[in-house]
């Protein structure tokens, strides 16, 4: 299952909620959720922990737009919109944690 997160986990609980119920699968960070993919925030340690059980992807155009493309946490997979499409196609289903 692909989980799509679009809110900054630094100020919103949707990534936490997703991780609470999700044991495995893939997470894609888009829109303001991409801040979680940048090094140096208070969430970085947690992201490393999370990467142990779920695979994390980030929509690069959104990270670039926010000036953080050079701070991508190692181990988070960058994708473009085409990659976003591929992820949806490859998963049985997807859920947007709005």
């Amino acid at each position: 299952m692909l989980h799509i997160i679009n809110k900054s986990p630094l100020s919103n609980g949707s990534l936490d909620s997703c991780l609470r119920v999700t044991e495995s699968g893939e997470i894609l960070l888009i829109e303001d959720a991409v801040y979680a993919a940048a090094k140096g925030s208070f969430l970085e340690g947690k992201m490393h922990e999370v990467m142990g059980k779920v695979k994390i992807h980030v929509l690069m155009p959104d990270l670039e737009a926010r000036g953080l493309a050079d701070r991508l946490i190692a181990g988070i997979t960058p994708v473009d919109y085409g990659g976003f499409v591929d992820l949806v196609a490859a998963s049985k289903n997807c859920q947007s944690w709005l």
Binding site: M1, G13, S14, S17, R20, V21, T22, E23, G25, K92, N93, C94, Q95, S96, W97, L98
Partner: protein, 121 residues
Amino acid sequence: MSEIKKFMFVNRKAPYGTIYALESLEVVLITAAFDQDVSLAFLDDGVYQLKKGQQTKGIDTKNFSPTFRALDGYDIEKLYVEKESLALRGLSEADLLVDVTVLDRKEMGKLMGQQDVVLSF
């Protein structure tokens, strides 16, 4: 209709503060007419949609919570509430205005994974 799909409506937003909960319920009622396998999941602030005793006169807004009790007549009987979301809000099953199945977080995640279509608003 060729096949029956598993539809899940994931409700994570509180009522009244925004319109999402109300308009989500409107989709659920329509979906009932399509003979699909429909379930509703309530997580996070979405559990507040089911709180008993909502009184909306003072905010001049329609109280749509009684509509959840009509779902049974629409043959929508699968209502799931995540246990942790309830507990975090100091609520229990007795506070809810309809019969639901309470699932723990892992069971909820598993159920989501089994769906064909997940709609969240």
